[in-house]
Each structure stands twice: as structure tokens, then as C-alpha cells.
């Protein structure tokens, strides 16, 4: 089957008629649909399922509420989905309406040939031959739950998936029918001489069968509940992963706030240092000119021999008082010699003056010395101030950005989720214990039932009236056992094919050297060369989920011409991948994206903006045949909301439009 086109009319979030064409080019076999969360990816996926089978996935909320609200408000009460597809060189148009239109049939398939169309008499049967309902779900990959699907408690789901693709539906219903029919024959055995014992044994078999059935149902329900809980935990984990990011941002905010406070302290310290420097050393700079002049003056006087003065005032006075010169000549007042020595007093310096000059000289020298050191200290202080201010500016910018990132995050809600997650884990663990008890109970009852059945057959064989029923009963049991064994054999070989197929995918996409192990009870794990089981990261789980899906699709293709009459044939169908790269890091994304076009003949890839990053689009660029964007329309006005713009092939597309005439989604084709 190759999908050509889908048209949705008033179906859920698609108001009016919306249509897209899928790429049918075998080289450019990928149709990309860009869509953010809540825009209609899941609706589109379910629209295909609903059109073909009148059914949707279990996750699809309000499954019976299919008509678009705005359309209904305008008086339109029916929605439809139409899918054009090609199968075995013929083209078909499948269309399903919601109930209530008064038409003869809600589901029709027309075979289109040369402008004519022929209505198929049994569209349900036909679509089941093209793509059996049991297989269809496996062509739709739900990335958000891939890791849960391959979890330890989902062995039953994995087995169902393998059986579905193996086309076991006929054998499985045959086994159930034979089991019921065997019981019917056992109860037909008439009352005879041996009837008393036979009746007792038969009643015991009934009771045991009932016990087994009830325990089996409880087991299955509990297993389903555990799977559901694990899915809820995975959902919470996904939200908590975002919350974890929020918490990380919050931690970063705390850290940045501390850093900012430290930077501010450094700024204040540096400012004090600058002021202190000004107090301590400012005078050195201010006195530069004065000290230079003073030193020049002192130097000049020294040069001229005046400073320090050549004569001591006390010595000259003593000579004048002694009337005798230092050369022993008499100094009589009034003589020219006395007047000459007395004239020396004008140039002579006393002790106080000499001391002052010495101090002035020392101080001026200190000023000169300190002035030479001053710029270095100031430069250091200024450098520290500038660095602190730069850090403050950076931290303030970071805090602003962090604040924007944290807007709208409710940390109480995160705490509630964590608490809910812990509760769910406890609940799941308790259930696992109960599942173990039920398994033992079933095993014991089956052993006892087997013994009772052998006793009954022995008695019935000895009783003529019961013999024919015993034979029929035994035949049913024998055929049932044989079909079960054959089914197990088929599954065994299917597991082997799938294992090898998954291994090849992992070899291409994974960076670790591990191999896949799938046990008889469908437990899936990754092991190293030594056979040791390795823990799987979320990304590896998702990768494994994707590889498993790829292997199922490949297996279905291989089985399209299978000749075993007991099994339904495989099929070729488009693979729809919803958010397949969510948990993968960038390196995995790119290698996985490179592999996506090879996963099926036709691939529909639905991805959000964040998922299309990291080289994804570049990896599939040459394989894209069609590309669309799902745009959300809102009646509300934009208000404070920012414009959501994305660029595709150089053109801007607004992915959320406000003040629209309706609430819903539309497709915008990306012109290539």
C-alpha cells in the first residue's frame, strides 16, 4: 500500500476541509510534517486508522467526539476522512463518515480505474487484506512511548506485536475456538454407570478451568495495569526531564546570584581600594609639580653653594664676640675686617634652618619616590574594578535570561509529579508481586487440570456412551496443542529474523558495541560480547524501539508473499513516525535520521522544531518528497504572546495564528 493523499473534513482539530499529498517517489520517499505539540500530529495518525478501521489508538482522547467544535456550532454534524491509496497497481479511495448522516454506509472504498469508479462490496474485508488491522498499529511509531514498549514488563506487548506481524490471528482464534469446543464435548458425555466419577472429575476440571481463566484474566489485567503505570511513569519522566532542566536552570540561577553577589563585593572592594589610594597617594600626584619645583630649587641652591649654607651662624657670632678671626687676625669693631666677617652673617645658616631644609629635602624625595609607585597600585585597583563590573554585567544578563526561561514554571507542580511518580512505582512493584503469585496459582491449577483430564479420558474410553464425545474432545485438545506448538515454532523463527534485523539497525545507528538479546519470553535486552546485560539509557531505549519497528516493517514486507495458509500474509505499508528522535542526543539523531528513509518504502515523519535540530533535516534532505507545516489557529487574540515564526526553504511560516475565525489546525505546504 502506498498512501497518496488524505483529506479531513471537520475531523477533530481540522476545521473545514484540509488535505495533503504524500510523497510516492521511491527515492524521495519521506513526507515530513513539522508540528509542535498539541497541533494535530496524533489526530492525523488516528485519522488514517479511523478511516480504515473505524478505530483509533487507546491514547486518543475523547474517541467518540470526532466532529470539530466550530463546525458543529455552525450546524455541521458529520466529519469524514478520505484516504487515496495505491495497492497492487490499482488505486482506491477509502472514505469514512462519522455516524448520523443517514447514508446507507459510513465506510466505502471505491476502486478507481480510467475515470471510472467501482464500489467494493465489502470494504472492511478488503482493507484487512491490504493492511490487516492487527498489523496496522505497528506501522505507526509513537516515539513518546517507545521506551516503555520495550520495558521489562511489556513482554506481552512485544509478543503480540510479533504475532500480529506474523499474521497469527487465524491460528490464535482457532486455538481459542478449539479450547471452547473441547469443553463443549466434555460436557456432552452422557450419564452412565461411570458417570458419577466422570461428573465429579468434569466438575473439578470446570472449576480448575474457571480458576485458570480468572487468574489469567487478573494476570493479564494486572500486567496491562503495570504497563499503563509504566507508561504514566514514562510520561511523568518526560515532563520531569523538562522539569529537571528547569531545576537545573534554577540551580544555575542560585549559583549565578551567588556569583553576582561576589562580583559586587569585589567591585565594592576595588572601589574602596581606589578611594584609599586617592587618600594615600592622591597627594603624590597632586604634589608632582610642587615637589619638582622644590627639588629644582634645592638643587639650584646646592649647585650655587647656598644650600646648605657655607657658613654657620653660631661660628660667625663667636668670632665677632672673640674679636678674632679663624686666621688669628684681630677683629676690632669698626675695622674693615670686622665689617667683612659681620657681613657673613647674611649668608650664614643656623641649626633650625638647616634642620628644616633637611626635612624638606627628605619629604620632597619621599614624594618623588611614592609618586613613581602610585600609578601601579591605582592600575591594579582599576583593573580589579573593571573585571568586577564586567562580571556583574554578565551575571545580570544571565539572570535576566534565566528569569525569562523560568517564567511560567511551577515548581510545586514538579514536586507533585515527583511524589506521584514515587507512588506509581510503589504501586507497580506491589502489582508485580501479585502477578508472581497469580503465575504460580495458574501453573498449579493447570497441572491439576491436566491430571483430571487424563483421568476423565480414561473413564470415557471405557464407557461406550461417552466414547464419541471423548474422541471429539481429544481431537480438539490434540489440534489445539498442535497449533500451539506450530505457533511457537513460527514465533521462534520470527524472533530469529527480527533479532538479526534489529541487530543490523543497531549496528548502523548505535555508538556502542552491543548486541540484542530476545528471549523466548520476549524479554529484550542489550548485551556486550561477554553476554552481560547492559543498562539502557532513555535514548538507547528509544533507538531500540525504533529498530524494533523497523524490523517489524521489514518482516511484514518479507512475508507479503508468504504461502503458509495458516498465517495471514505480510504487507507493504507506509511507516508513520511520530516524534521518533525525542530522547536521542544529537549524534544518535543524525545517524538515526539517515536510516529513517530506509525503514520503509514510504515514510511519513512528524517532528517538532526541537526534534528537527541536530542535523536531522540535513540527514534526510535528499530524501524528502513532500513537506508540510501544521499551523495552529486560535480565535483568541495574541495578547502578550510572542510571534512564533519558523523558516522553511527561505520562507517565514507563522506556526501559531491568532484572531482566527476558528480554533483548529491547517496544513501549509513547504514549496520545494
Amino acid at each position: 500500500m502506498w498512501l497518496e493523499q488524505i483529506t479531513l473534513k471537520d475531523f477533530r482539530c481540522f476545521y473545514g476541509e484540509s488535505s495533503i499529498e504524500f510523497s510516492t517517489d521511491s527515492e524521495k520517499n519521506v513526507t515530513v510534517i513539522h508540528a509542535e505539540n498539541g497541533v494535530g500530529k496524533t489526530t492525523l495518525l488516528n485519522a488514517i486508522l479511523w478511516c480504515f478501521y473505524g478505530d483509533t489508538t487507546a491514547k486518543f482522547e475523547k474517541r467518540d467526539d470526532l466532529v470539530n467544535y466550530d463546525a458543529r456550532a455552525e450546524g455541521r454534524n458529520r466529519a469524514f476522512v478520505e484516504v487515496l491509496f495505491e495497492h497492487n497497481d490499482a488505486r482506491y479511495r477509502a472514505r469514512r463518515y462519522t455516524n448520523g448522516g443517514g447514508e446507507e454506509r459510513n465506510f466505502t472504498i471505491l476502486r478507481l480505474t480510467d475515470g471510472h469508479h467501482q464500489r467494493l462490496p465489502n470494504p472492511d474485508a478488503f482493507i484487512n487484506t491490504v493492511l490487516p488491522r492487527g498489523m496496522a498499529g505497528h506501522f505507526l511509531f509513537d516515539g513518546e512511548h517507545a521506551e516503555v514498549f520495550l520495558g521489562a514488563d511489556n513482554r506481552a506487548s512485544i509478543r503480540r506485536a510479533v504475532q500480529d506481524i506474523l499474521g497469527c490471528s487465524l491460528v490464535k482464534t482457532a486455538i481459542q475456538d478449539l479450547s471452547e469446543t473441547a469443553t463443549y464435548y466434555r460436557k456432552q458425555m452422557p450419564s452412565t454407570k461411570a458417570s458419577s466419577s466422570m461428573s465429579t472429575i468434569s466438575s473439578r476440571i470446570d472449576a480448575l478451568a474457571k480458576q485458570i481463566e480468572q487468574a489469567g484474566l487478573a494476570h493479564e489485567k494486572m500486567q496491562g495495569d503495570v504497563e499503563l503505570i509504566d507508561q504514566q511513569i514514562a510520561d511523568i519522566d518526560a515532563k520531569l526531564r523538562n522539569s529537571a532542566a528547569a531545576k537545573e536552570i534554577q540551580t544555575r540561577r542560585d549559583r549565578t546570584t551567588v556569583d553576582l553577589a561576589r562580583a559586587k563585593k569585589r567591585e565594592a572592594d576595588a572601589q574602596v581600594e581606589v578611594l584609599k589610594w586617592l587618600g594615600d597617594s592622591g597627594r603624590y600626584l597632586v604634589s608632582t609639580r610642587i615637589s619638582e619645583l622644590a627639588m629644582d630649587f634645592l638643587d639650584q641652591k646646592e649647585t650655587k653653594g647656598r644650600l646648605p649654607a657655607p657658613y654657620n651662624e653660631e661660628l660667625v657670632t663667636d668670632l665677632l664676640e672673640m674679636h678674632k678671626c679663624i686666621c688669628e687676625r684681630e677683629l676690632e669693631p669698626g675695622t674693615p675686617s670686622y665689617a667683612a666677617v659681620q657681613g657673613l652673617l647674611q649668608k650664614a645658616a643656623n641649626a633650625t634652618l638647616r634642620d628644616r631644609i633637611k626635612k624638606v629635602s627628605a619629604r620632597v624625595n619621599e614624594l618623588r619616590r611614592e609618586r613613581s609607585k602610585a600609578p601601579g597600585r591605582l592600575d591594579d585597583a582599576n583593573a580589579r574594578l573593571a573585571s568586577a563590573r564586567q562580571d556583574i554585567s554578565r551575571y545580570e544578563g544571565d539572570l535576566q535570561e534565566i528569569s525569562e526561561q523560568l517564567t511560567g514554571i511551577n515548581f510545586d507542580e514538579i514536586a507533585q509529579r515527583e511524589s506521584k511518580r514515587n507512588d506509581l512505582r510503589k504501586q507497580a512493584n506491589q502489582m508485580r508481586v501479585q502477578i508472581g503469585q497469580l503465575t504460580t496459582q495458574i501453573r498449579n491449577a493447570e497441572t491439576e487440570k491436566g491430571t483430571a483430564e487424563r483421568d476423565l479420558k480414561k473413564l470415557a474410553a471405557e464407557d461406550a456412551g461417552s466414547r464419541i464425545f471423548a474422541i471429539r474432545y481429544t481431537l480438539c485438545e490434540t489440534l489445539k496443542g498442535r497449533l500451539e506448538r506450530e505457533l511457537q515454532e513460527e514465533e521462534k523463527s520470527a524472533r530469529s529474523v527480527l533479532r538479526s534485523s534489529i541487530g543490523k539497525v543497531l549496528e548502523r545507528t548505535s555508538r556502542k558495541a552491543f548486541r540484542l538479546q530476545m528471549t523466548e519470553d520476549y524479554s529484550i535486552s542489550l548485551v556486550n560480547e561477554a553476554g552481560t546485560q547492559l543498562p539502557k539509557s532513555s535514548g538507547e531505549n528509544q533507538l531500540l524501539g525504533l529498530a524494533f519497528t523497523a524490523a517489524l516493517v521489514e518482516f511484514a514486507k518479507v512475508r507479503q508473499n508468504a504461502s503458509d495458509y495458516r498465517l495471514l500474509r505480510g504487507t507493504i505499508a507506509p511507516l508513520v513516525l511520530d516524534s521518533p528522535f525525542g530522547q536521542l542526543d544529537e549524534a544518535y539523531r543524525q545517524t538515526t535520521a539517515e536510516y529513517v528513509p530506509q525503514m520503509a518504502g514510504q515514510v511519513v515523519l512528524m517532528i517538532s522544531k526541537s526534534q528537527s535540530s541536530g542535523g536531522v533535516m540535513e540527514a534526510i534532505e535528499n530524501r524528502i518528497g513532500q513537506e508540510f507545516v501544521l499551523v495552529r489557529h486560535n480565535r483568541d487574540s495574541r495578547g502578550e504572546r510572542a510571534v512564533e515564526l519558523r523558516q522553511f526553504r527561505g520562507k517565514d511560516v507563522e506556526t501559531a495564528v491568532f484572531d482566527s475565525k476558528f480554533d483548529g489546525s491547517t496544513f501549509v505546504r513547504v514549496t520545494r
Binding site: N122, D124, A125, N128, T129, S169, L170, V171, T173, A174, D177, L178, E180, T181, Y184, Y185, E453, R454, K457, K458, I468, I471, R472, T474, L475, C476, E477, T478, L479, G481, R482, L483, Y565, R566, L568
Partner: protein, 63 residues
């Protein structure tokens, strides 16, 4: 008319073929009526064990 099976295994094969054919008919025709399907399955088993039915259980060795 098809040739009668000569061994218990052949008989079983033929009955299984008929049962699977029945399942296929109901699966694709989407009749979904379990009681009808099981009534027709009993008819198949009855036919297989009426004339030479004893042979169906020969050599099964399951008890």
C-alpha cells in the same frame, strides 16, 4: 470430492485446514459472530469423527 485421509496425521491436517479456512472466512468477512463460528467448527469436528472418527485419535499419545 477430496480423497479420504489415510492416516491420523492426514486427518488432522485436513481438519486444521478446514478450521483455518473457517477462521479466514470470518476474519475477512468481519462477521465477528463467535457462536456461529464455533458451531461450524463443531460441525467440522463432528464430520471428522463420525465415519472414521476413531482414527482421528489413533497414535496421538497425549495421555
Amino acid at each position: 470430492m477430496s480423497k479420504s485421509p489415510s492416516s491420523p496425521e492426514q486427518l488432522q491436517n485436513r481438519v486444521i485446514e478446514q478450521i483455518i479456512e473457517l477462521q479466514r472466512e470470518f476474519y475477512f468477512e468481519n462477521k465477528g459472530r463467535e457462536s456461529d463460528r464455533r458451531r461450524r467448527l463443531r460441525e467440522i469436528v463432528d464430520r471428522a469423527t463420525t465415519s472414521r472418527g476413531d482414527r482421528a485419535t489413533v497414535g496421538q499419545g497425549d495421555d
